[in-house]
Subunit: 366 residues, 2 copies
C-alpha cells in the first residue's frame, strides 16, 4: 500500500510525519521503538474514543504495551482550561503514575490534538507526545508544527505552548468516519496551503477533486503528504512564528473573527477560514496585489469542494473589534496575509477598518 | 552602592540577573531598554502588591511607562490552575489588550514568580517576562532557571513549563519586609547550594552569618550573587534538567514529601528542604559516601541560621508513597541527591524504603 513520510527537522528536535492507510494498526510498532517509555496515556474526545480507542489500544497491546485511555466531551466548546483542569486530575491519579518518561498519545481531530498537546507540554513541565490525527484538518494542519493550546472566552488558542511531538501518525482510512462538514473544513486548509505556497497543490486539488471527495486512500495520502510538506517547510523555517510562519495565517485574520462572532462550534474552522481567504483576496485585489482571475479561481475551487463562499452577516464594528483582540495584533496593528499570486503570499500589518468594510460588502453582494 | 550582575547564557537565550540595594526604583530604566514593548502587566500577590506595587508602578511611571497591576490572594495554596484561570480572565480583558509584544513583570516571592511565569509561558503561547523577586528564596533559587508552574493536589509544581525571563532584578532591601520564617527558608536553599557546589559559599554562610541575619545590604548582595551564580552555572550546563541540574534537588526528595504531607503553607519550602538535606545526609553517611563530620557541620549551620533540625512526625509509608509520586521518580525508581563532601554531590536513583525509614528514625532520635 501507498505510504509517505515527511521529515520535520527543527534546530533542536527532529520527528517524522507518516501517512499511510491502515497506519492506526501499527501505532504499537512506532511506540515500541521509542526509548524508555515508562507508561502510556491516550487523550481523546468522546466521539473519537468510541470509534478508534479500541483499535489503538489493540495496536499497542499487540506489542505488549498497556495504556490508559482518557477522553473528554467532544466539541470545540470543551477545548478550555477547565477541561485541562479535569484532565490533570485524572492524569495525576493514573496507575502507574505519570512520570517524565511517560508518553501521551493524542487521538482525534484538532481539539484532542491541541488540548492533549497542551497537557503534554505542561504536565511535569513537559512530557513526550505522539499525535494520531483522525480529522483532515488535524492531519494537514494542526498536527505538524508544535502549536498546542486551548481557547478562552476572549479568543481561540489564547492559552497554549509550543511543544513538538515525537511523531505524527496519520491514517487516511480514519477520514471515512468524519462528518462531511469537518472534511470540507480540512479541504479549506489545503486550499490555504496551495494559495500561499504551491501552485502544484492548487492543480492537484483541482484535478483530483473527485477522488478526494470520495476519499480514495491513494489520493488522500498524496493530498495529506503534500500539505504536511508545506506546513513542515514553513515551520522548520520559523518554528516560533517570528516571521515566515505567519503566512499560515492566510484567511485567519477574518476567519478567527467570524468564528468567534458565530460562537465556537457554530461554523467549522475551515469554513470560517474559507470566508477569510475570500475576504483577504478582496483586500488583495483592491490593493492591486492580486489579479481578479486568481481570486476567482480560489473562489471557484472552494465552491467546487462544497464550501460556502458567502460569509454570514455581522456588524463591521464587531468584526473589527475581534481583529483588534486577535493575539497576532500588535500595538493595534492588525496583521493580514495577502496572496500576490497562486502559490505566493506576503505579510502585512496595516489592515484598516475601511478595507474590512469594503471586502465584506463585496462578499455579501452589497 | 554595591551591585552585582550574573549572566545567564543559555543556548538560545541570554539574560542578566542584577542584584543591587534599591534596584526596585530602577525597574523602569531596565524596561525602557527592552525593544518594542506594547504594554506592561505586573502579576503579584495581595501581600507584595500592597508593599511594593506602588514603588514599582512609580519606577515605571518615571520613564513614562504605564502598567496594569494584577494581584491574587497570597499563599502557596493559591498557586493553582484555578488561580491561573482567574488571572487569564483578567489578562485577556486588559486595556490595552495583551499582545505578543506585551511584557509581564512578576513581583513577589516564589508563588507570584512561578505562577506569573507560567502565565507568561502560556498566554498567547508565550510572552516576555521580567522577574522581580522580593523573597530570599525566590531571589536565590526560583527566579533563575526558567522553571515556571503551579501546584496540583497530587504534588508541587506538577503543572508548568520552562520559560526563560528577559531579566531578573533583585533588590535586597525588599527582604526587610520578609517574615522571619520566609527569610530562613531562603537561607536553607543557600545552604543547599553550598553543599552541592561550593565550599566557599559554605564558609561565607558560616563567617558572615550575623550580618546576614540582620540583613546588611552588602552581605545580602554578596550572598544572593554567590547563589545566583551557582544556580546559573548549573542551569546553563543543563537547562531542561536532563542530568546535572538534578543536583539542585538535593534535600527535595524528602523535602517535597514533607511539604505535601504537612499541607502546603504549613511549613516553609526551605524548612522542608532543610529537613530533607539532613535526611539525605543520613543516607549518604550510612552508605559511606559522606563523613559524619561534614554531615554534622551542615546540621550545625542550619541550626545556627534558625532552622529546625528535627523533622515533623509522619508515617514512613506515607513519606515513601509521596516519593513514588514525585515527578522526578521514573519507573518507580526514586531519585536522590547525595553529597560526597561539602561542595560536591551526586545523583542516585536507588533510594529504598528501608533507607528512608532508617534516616527518619535517626533524625527523630528513635
Amino acid at each position: 500500500l501507498i505510504s509517505r513520510n515527511v521529515n520535520v527537522q527543527l534546530p533542536s528536535h527532529r520527528y517524522e510525519v507518516r501517512i499511510q492507510p491502515g497506519l492506526l494498526e501499527s501505532v504499537g510498532d512506532f511506540v515500541k521503538k521509542l526509548p524508555g517509555v515508562s507508561s502510556i496515556v491516550i487523550v481523546s474526545d468522546s466521539n473519537v474514543a468510541d470509534l478508534y480507542g479500541k483499535p489503538l489500544l489493540e495496536s499497542l497491546a499487540r506489542r505488549d504495551l498497556e495504556a490508559n485511555l482518557l477522553s473528554f466531551q467532544a466539541g470545540e466548546q470543551h477545548k478550555t482550561l477547565s477541561t485541562c483542569s479535569e484532565m490533570f486530575d485524572r492524569l495525576f491519579s493514573l496507575e502507574p503514575a505519570l512520570d517524565r518518561s511517560s508518553l501521551l498519545i493524542t487521538l482525534g481531530g484538532g481539539v484532542p490534538g491541541d488540548l492533549g498537546g497542551f497537557l503534554a507540554a505542561t504536565a511535569l513541565r513537559g512530557i513526550r507526545f505522539l499525535q494520531c490525527p483522525t480529522s483532515l484538518l488535524a492531519a494537514v494542519d494542526a498536527s505538524t508544527g508544535g502549536k498546542t493550546g486551548v481557547d478562552h472566552a476572549a479568543g481561540k488558542n489564547l492559552i497554549g505552548a509550543f511543544h513538538q511531538p515525537v511523531g505524527v501518525l496519520i491514517d487516511p482510512l480514519c477520514l471515512k468516519s468524519l462528518p462531511s462538514e469537518e472534511f470540507k473544513s480540512g479541504l479549506a486548509e489545503c486550499v490555504k496551503h496551495a494559495v500561499i505556497r504551491s501552485a502544484d497543490l492548487m492543480e492537484l486539488l483541482e484535478s483530483r477533486r473527485k477522488q478526494m471527495l470520495c476519499l480514495d486512500p491513494e489520493a488522500m495520502t498524496e493530498l495529506i503528504a503534500a500539505n504536511v510538506q508545506i506546513k513542515a517547510d514553513v515551520v522548520v523555517a520559523d518554528e516560533r512564528e517570528q516571521s515566515l510562519r505567519a503566512i499560515l495565517n492566510y484567511g485567519h485574520t477574518f476567519g478567527h473573527a467570524f468564528e468567534t462572532l458565530m460562537g465556537y462550534g457554530q461554523v467549522t474552522h475551515g469554513q470560517a477560514v474559507a470566508w477569510g481567504m475570500l475576504a483577504a483576496n478582496c483586500v488583495a485585489v483592491s490593493r492591486g496585489l492580486l489579479d481578479e482571475a486568481a481570486a476567482d479561481r480560489v473562489a471557484r475551487l472552494l465552491g467546487a469542494l462544497g464550501l460556502s463562499t458567502r460569509p454570514g452577516k455581522f456588524e463591521i464594528d464587531d468584526i473589527w473589534a475581534r481583529m483588534l483582540h486577535d493575539k497576532k495584533t500588535r500595538s493595534g496593528r492588525v496583521m493580514l496575509i495577502l496572496p500576490s499570486a497562486i502559490g505566493s503570499a506576503e505579510i502585512f500589518n496595516d489592515l484598516s477598518r475601511e478595507e474590512v468594510a469594503r471586502a465584506m460588502e463585496k462578499l455579501w453582494g452589497e
